[in-house]
Structures are given as structure tokens and as C-alpha cells.
């Protein structure tokens, strides 16, 4: 068993040459059967397993990961957490997630390095200001800490924003959420993995699911076939992001999702230049600076369906041109790395959560580009759904049924940017 991390432990291991740190989690062989099998060892899958064990006492759980944990989108996002969503059901969900993030280091006994530096979304026109005022007013009615900022405050918050008198896209103000911030993404994975493992969850890496077995007469799921042998279970949680429809195809139903490549970029390390997250919906770019000094840059998803984790050149050019428009002094910065994660978007850019057409198989998908900030609340609510068979009150609006009922939660139109 791994030990509790503490300042005293750091000292103790330092004087013994750091030779005796215990492993953070086991790597067990898969058993023949589990009460619950979670497919996908990213943040969502591991958080689900952790809350199943902690909140519901269900510890006979396996998390199956085809690669290594956190090697998918949890390791490919831009680490931003925030809750500035327009619709009340979205705001309630994402603000709950942000509150869980605020207590997560203590909860998991693992420093997730939450840095609530705030996010500024600039507006470039009076019309965009009007639109932001609508968003902010709705969010304030829901109790969120978002507010409007005027032009002067925007430049005080971020002095290197484009202030050129003849800027193609002048900055006239913006909206601000002070509790928004960044999190060390790997720490979220490792923290949940270690905590879940301590509660008895088996984390099985390099174990890809190849088939979902269902009872021919009732349709209830009975297990999965994997590259490490068959595993029997009556409850399957699917948390595989861009590959959700691949699993759905195995189980024999369809999902209203399309997979796209979403790129991110990190620059060479710079001295401290920007201490907030700066974002422009109109330009389609956002940027923050990591503790190592690299600029972490994101934009919109590529414009056609893709399972290739690399991204295309036109999207890269669009995003980086937007960055230079937003902050011209970054024009000569060199990129260090570029990559893409495969994200699954629903028509309304809201997630698809809860029960599926296959009894016993539960959905956690459709996060698009916004899954990282959702990890704690997603894990907690999915664990609730798996344990009780009922949707959690926070996720009722995000059921698969909403497409049949045309009850969309249209954040795609409301906020106007890929989340």
C-alpha cells in the first residue's frame, strides 16, 4: 500500500536518498469478473472509479486503459478549469466541478497545483459586449463569479494585449471569471489513480476492449472482451472521449457524436509574460503561461472528422494567427510542441451522460473540447448513475434522450465557442 504524502514524508525520503518511495498504484492482472468495468483510464474513468469506491462502497472495479493512464485527452488538453457556461444546467454542473477541483488536492492527498489566475474573454465590438453582458447576467443569476470588465481593466489585467490604434480587431472590454485557472493535468490522473487504487480499484493498463458482450435475449451487458482476455461484468462505464462511437458500435447502438482533432501548442519557455488566461471567441484562440514558462495555446477543433492525433496545418495557422492578433508581442515566439486529441462533439456541444440503449452500459461522452474541467463532477455523477441506475440531478438534462425530444442544451450557440 502506498503511504500518505506529507511534508514530513518529503524530509524522511530526502534523508534516505529518495530510494524508498512506494509505488503510487499497483498493476494487477485482470480478474475474471468485476462488479463494474470502466473503459478508459483518463481523468473521467479514474475519477468515476474513485467515487464509486469512496461514495458508494463499490470497490470491485476495474479501469481498463488501452495505453497508459492519462495518455489520451487528459494528457492533451490545455489544463484550464472554469465554469462560465450560459445555460443554468451547464453552469450548475461545471461550477460544481470547479468547486470539487478547489478541494481536490486535500481530498486526494495529491497536489494538483490548482492555480486560480482568472480568465479574461475579450470582446472586440459593441455587439460582442452586448452578447457577453447577456451571458454574464445569466451566469450571475446562477451565482457564478463572472463579471464584465471595461477596456481599461482588460488592459490592466493583461497589459500585453493588442492595444494598437489600428488593430483589425480592437479590444473594447470583456468578461472575467476570477476562479478560473489551470491545473496540473497529470496530477489529476495520478491523484485519482492512486486514491482509487488505495480503495481497491484495479487499474489495468495496456488492455484494449475489443468487444462488448450482451445477453442475446434481454440485451443486458454481460462483459467485455479485451486484449488481455474476457472480463465478466454487469455494469460498464464508458469514458473514452473521441472513441465513444467505436465502443457504441461494439455494443450495437449509435451515438449523436462526431470525432474531431483538437490541437494544442506549447511554446519555448519564456520569462513570466502573462499571469491570466486570455481568450478571444471571435479570433478563436486562448493562451496561458505554464509554471515552466511555456505559452499553452488552444483554439478551435479541426473542421472535419478525424481520429488522427496530430491535427491539420490550416487549423494551426488559424489559431496561431489569432494569437498574434490578440498579443502581437508573441509573434516571434517559437513553438516547442504541437499535438492533437480526439474529441467527440454532440450537435449542441453539451455532454451525453447516463444510461444508454444497452442496459448496464453507462455513457460519459460528448465533452468535446471541454472535458478536462468536468472531470471531478463527471466522475462523481457517473459513479452515482452506475451505483443507483438513476441519472444524477446535475446530469439529468444531458441524457441521450434529449436528441429524440429535441431538448438540446445548446451551448454551441449560447457561448459561440468550442468548449
Amino acid at each position: 500500500m502506498s503511504e500518505r504524502y506529507s511534508a514530513w514524508g518529503l524530509v524522511r525520503h530526502a534523508v534516505t536518498g529518495n530510494r524508498h518511495w512506494p509505488q503510487a498504484w499497483r498493476s494487477p492482472e485482470p480478474k475474471a469478473a468485476y462488479d463494474v468495468v470502466i473503459i478508459g483510464g483518463g481523468g473521467h474513468g479514474l475519477a468515476t472509479a474513485y467515487y464509486l469506491a469512496r461514495n458508494h462502497g463499490i470497490t470491485n472495479v476495474a479501469v481498463l486503459e488501452k495505453g497508459w493512464i492519462g495518455g489520451g485527452n487528459t494528457g492533451r488538453n490545455t489544463t484550464i478549469v472554469r465554469s462560465d457556461y450560459y445555460y443554468p444546467e451547464s453552469a450548475a454542473f461545471f461550477d460544481h466541478s470547479l468547486r470539487l477541483y478547489e478541494g481536490l488536492s486535500r481530498d486526494l492527498n495529491f497536489n494538483i497545483m490548482l492555480s486560480q489566475r482568472g480568465q479574461l474573454v475579450v470582446a472586440h465590438s459593441r455587439h460582442e459586449l452586448d452578447f457577453q453582458r447577456r451571458l454574464v447576467t445569466a451566469m450571475q443569476l446562477g451565482g457564478l463569479d463572472t463579471r464584465m470588465v471595461d477596456r481599461d481593466e482588460a488592459y490592466r489585467l493583461c497589459p500585453i494585449l493588442n492595444a494598437s490604434a489600428d488593430a483589425r480587431y480592437p479590444i473594447v472590454g470583456g468578461m472575467w471569471q476570477g476562479r478560473a485557472g489551470t491545473v496540473r493535468h497529470d496530477a489529476v490522473v495520478w491523484g485519482y489513480a492512486r486514491a482509487a487504487d488505495q480503495l481497491g480499484v484495479d487499474i489495468i493498463q495496456e488492455c484494449a476492449v475489443t468487444a462488448v458482450q450482451r445477453d442475446p435475449s434481454s440485451g443486458v451487458v454481460t462483459g467485455v472482451d479485451t486484449t488481455r482476455g474476457p472480463i465478466r461484468t454487469e455494469k460498464i462505464g464508458v469514458a473514452v472521449a473521441g472513441h465513444s462511437t467505436v465502443i457504441a458500435d461494439m455494443a450495437g447502438f449509435r451515438l449523436p457524436l462526431r470525432s474531431y482533432a483538437l490541437q494544442a501548442f506549447v511554446s519555448e519557455p519564456l520569462k513570466p509574460a502573462i499571469d491570466i488566461i486570455a481568450s478571444s471567441n471571435l479570433l478563436g484562440v486562448y493562451v496561458s503561461q505554464s509554471d515552466k514558462g511555456g505559452l499553452v495555446i488552444g483554439g478551435n477543433a479541426d473542421a472535419y472528422a478525424s481520429y488522427a492525433q496530430r491535427g491539420n496545418v490550416p487549423s494551426m495557422e488559424t489559431t496561431l494567427a489569432a494569437l498574434v492578433e490578440l498579443i502581437p508581442s508573441f509573434a516571434r515566439v517559437r513553438l516547442l510542441r504541437q499535438w492533437a486529441g480526439i474529441v467527440d462533439y454532440a450537435h449542441d456541444s453539451s455532454p451525453v451522460l447516463g444510461i444508454s440503449p444497452a442496459p448496464g452500459l453507462f455513457l460519459n461522452c460528448g465533452w468535446g473540447g471541454g472535458g478536462f474541467k468536468a472531470i471531478p463532477a463527471s466522475g462523481e455523477t457517473m459513479a452515482h448513475t452506475i451505483a443507483t441506475g438513476e441519472p444524477h440531478p446535475l446530469t439529468r438534462s444531458f441524457s441521450l434522450d434529449r436528441f429524440r425530444d429535441l431538448a438540446l442544451v445548446d451551448e454551441a450557440a449560447a457561448a459561440g465557442i468550442a468548449h
Partner: protein, 93 residues
């Protein structure tokens, strides 16, 4: 960067094109005559294969005509492009 063979103009750079989503999706009869589920299936439940996908493209900065492409979503290799009035070529992968 993709090199896309427009059936009318020949090979052109990806920048000249826009993607129009899945091809060969037939619009059902009048919406009031189909069930809510069937209408939702038409609107939202599309194929999302990891492999060959038949999709629509438009040569926006060229001839501005629509056409179809069979593209592998994992490798981005384009197996075939064909005119909008042609049937999907019989290519396995």
C-alpha cells in the same frame, strides 16, 4: 495538409475546400409524417467510423461545386473522390 482531387478541377490544396459532413444521408419524408425517433436519427445519429467515411466536400475557393470523398478518418488517406450524382465506390478500406 490534404491534397484533394476535385472531380472537376483536379488535385488542389486542402485550403481551397470546406467539409460538409457525412454523405449519402437521405432526408426523410415530411417531418410531421415520421416519428420523433426517426427524425432525431436523421438529424443527429450519423456514422462516425474510425476508418473509411463517405463525406461531402465543396470546392469553395475553386469551382464551388460539391462532391463526395471516401476518406479514412484515422490516416486521412483519401481513397476516392466522386461526383455528387455517383454512387459510393466499392472500396473496402
Amino acid at each position: 495538409m490534404l491534397l484533394i482531387h476535385c472531380p472537376w478541377c483536379g488535385p488542389r490544396d486542402e485550403d481551397e475546400f470546406a467539409n460538409g459532413g457525412e454523405a449519402h444521408v437521405d432526408r426523410p419524408n415530411l417531418p410531421e409524417t415520421v416519428s420523433a425517433q426517426d427524425w432525431a436519427d436523421y438529424l443527429f445519429m450519423h456514422d462516425n467510423p474510425k476508418g473509411l467515411l463517405a463525406e461531402r466536400w465543396v470546392h469553395s475557393f475553386g469551382c464551388r461545386r460539391w462532391f463526395h470523398a471516401l476518406r479514412d478518418t484515422a490516416s486521412h488517406r483519401i481513397a476516392a473522390t466522386y461526383r455528387i450524382d455517383e454512387t459510393r465506390p466499392d472500396i473496402a478500406s
